[in-house]
Amino acid sequence: MDGSVRLEEVVMRFGDFTAIDKMSLEIGSGEFFSFLGPSGCGKTTLLNMIGGFLTPSEGRVSIGGEPMAGVSVNRRPTAMIFQNLALFPLMTVFENIEFGLEVRGVDRRTRRATAERLLALVALEGVGQRRVTELSGGQKQRVAIARALAVEPRVLLLDEPLSALDLKLRQHMRSELKAIQRKTGITFIYITHDQGEALTMSDRVAVMSAGRLQQVADPMTLYRQPATGFVAAFVGENNRIEARVIDRLGERVRLDAGALGELEGRVGDEASLGGGAEVALYVRPEQLRPVAAGTSGDASMGGSTLVAEVESVSFEGAWLMVQARLAGSGEALRVQLGSEVSRSFADALVPGEAITLGYDPAETVVLPRDGSPRVDEATGEVVEAADV
Amino acid sequence: MFRQLAARFGGPLSAAILALLGIWLIVMVTLPQLQMIDYSLRPNLLPAQRGGPEDGWTLANYATLFANDIHRAIFFKTLWSSVLVTLLTLAVSYPLAWYLAKVATARQAALCILLLIIPFWINEILRTYSWFIILAFRGPLNELLLMLGLIDRPIRFLSGDGGVMVGMVYAYILFMVFPLYNAIESLDDNQVRAARDLGAGTLRTHRRIVIPHAKPGIATGCIMTFMLAAGSYAVPALLGSPGSRWFTQIIYNWFFEGGNWNQGAAYAFLLLVLCIGFMSLVMRVFKVGLGDIAK
């Protein structure tokens, strides 16, 4: 059963608006694949095209090597879990799960056996006769999964199915979904704007913005080696420092960061960023470590230091989040300090105090400066890439 | 239109939908009306004369109304009486609708609405007939008034338009109460409280806050009541006397006693024009659209 999905130069236009712009992608059979992006990035459109609810304006979608052009929704080897689940409220749990088999003319006995097997799979034995309206949110979720699996899809499409659940249940369902995917071996295509969901469950994640793919990679690579400024800012937190390349040695680059002095960083992708290139250096908050003031930093860390003035400190339990401003440029800087800082050091972090921070250039990434994302000042969330 | 339907329901079902809609709107709604207008514009001819030289369009059937003093008087009487019935019904219904929507508790309102619906389920003829009994010369109302000493001799309620109007207000009251109730109910209680708070009296609160908000409901109720009153046959036939004929009765006579369908069609069309005219007037005065009416 080949559950691979292939998109070839797919374009989706609604009037003048281009929702998906020439996208090509291959998703392997049995993969847990996520599309991650802010709302309006086109991920739902993409899912609807794979599921057959929308016909692409251009390009081709194929599933299991078979082109899907002209194949209607009810004939595709896909099944969707809708955001609001769309369980049939007038039917029992059994009737819901058996619906797909019933319309295919499968006999009652086989249907019931399948439904019971699937209810066991989603750990919901014994509720078959109940009406779906009597179930809790988590139970409904499981029924929706069982209903979709009943038609033995090659590809399961999940449209932010956890967004309606409360936080705790959502985290529980993540591992559950992952376990079900492993057990069944079906290709899962999952769309979400929640990076936590995407990173924890997926084999690979595609980050999307404005109808285009920004990067397709496994979660670890996505986090440590973002390919674009958008990904660097959207996935996890990142501090962004504008600079100019002085020179380059392999992956290492020396940067002129103006008033911040000379900094070092690692070139993320293989793009040839030579001397003089306008770049942005991305340093994650948890990579910044306090160093003694006045030194040029720990030699092992490569010698880059940043001096900032503390604005506020919030204690989050396992770590301290320090909001600071870079001396010189005045840019905001977020620093996450873990258990390695002493109590007395933490107590000394009061607003107005200067702090000197070092980092390991190998854990940073330097990217060309185009495509810098716009960050909402109020919420700190990435709104959309400015010029992609 | 077929494409949009077919995308949702598939070809066969969409074809059935369009066929049913088409039969209804064309064969049952539009063509009969057009045919009626066509009839009204032709002279009443013997079958043999149809298609002959005399068969042509003419306004003669309409001229009849204006030439006939009695018919003309009845036409305008029907118009004014229907307006009066409409206003009376509005006056009677408004306090009740206000009570249901804003004064009564939820349980009281639910009970009242059920009580209101029950007579509505009962035949218009029967409801009118009950009034016939009450208003009869030797009926209970006269007996009661005599007993109370308010009158010396029984009154002939059923000889003028009075009985007809009482019966009509009774028969159509629900078509006024429900639109009014729906409209007033959607008014935010705080608006009323705010008006009171600012020192507005009851009358002013209603005039400035409640009535403007209830406009679509008032318009709907008035349009429905007027249409039902002007088009009523049962109530004047049962409660009216020969001296208080309604325009619908004249139309009926053209069809089934005068045997002049063309003339009857012209009168029927005039009645329709009257109703459409009233509706347009109300919709303009209250600044409401058709979408507000069908609720």
Binding site: A86, A150 | L13, P119, N123, S130, G231, T248, I293
Partner: protein, 267 residues
Amino acid sequence: MSSQRLLGWALRGYVVVFFAYLFLPLVVMAAATFNDSRFPTVTPWDGTTLKWFGELAADGAMWQALTNSAIVATGVLLLAVPIGIATALFLNTVSSRAKPFLYALILSPLLTPGVIIGISTLIFWRQWGVGGGIFLTVVGQATFIAAYVMLMVTARLQRFDRTMERAALDLGASQWQMFRRILLPYLRPAILSAAVIAFLQSFENYNTTLFVVGYDTTLTVYIASKVRTGLTPAVNALGLILILVTVLLAAAYELKRRREAARVAGV
């Protein structure tokens, strides 16, 4: 404040008077059934009797009219309900520049006096050689009753979550299966209500029926003719029975509706 309170009591008093006005006529009519008088009245009371029920039962023309009414109402049900459902589905699905015009046309039977619907139906069918009778009565009544059905079905259809349709198709259902298994069951309560209303509306219709009924007679037409000609309290007996039947039907329908509402609310 005290004038406010006075107004409040005046309003309550008004409500009581209003309901008395609403029910008194029906009570009077019912009471007259049991009066042993040749005329339908409660004054003077000539003694209590049940003979008018017997007289009614022996009235063959009444039974014929009742049968005709039942036939007509069934016919209207079969014609108006499918049309109303189809129209509601049409309005819910199609978006077109012609829609406001079509909508006005669809509503027009509700805003047209019943006599005119009867007249135009009578005139239209004459050219095909169809005269007044049961068939035309069905057609004439269905013309405006279909619009009531449409309104009731539309009200429920507007609350339908269309993701449900997508889900059904996604699970492999054909469009017809989706309609049969998902949409139609969802609309069922509204369709049943509409069917009850359609039946009753047909049963009690007079204005339209009068013009298209021809030499046949429906119960309403029969009662009206009795009122004008040979009036006896047998008419009251018939009225009383009809009132009891309708009240029982209405109560049953209302009870069912409330139970349904409670079930949905409890969800």
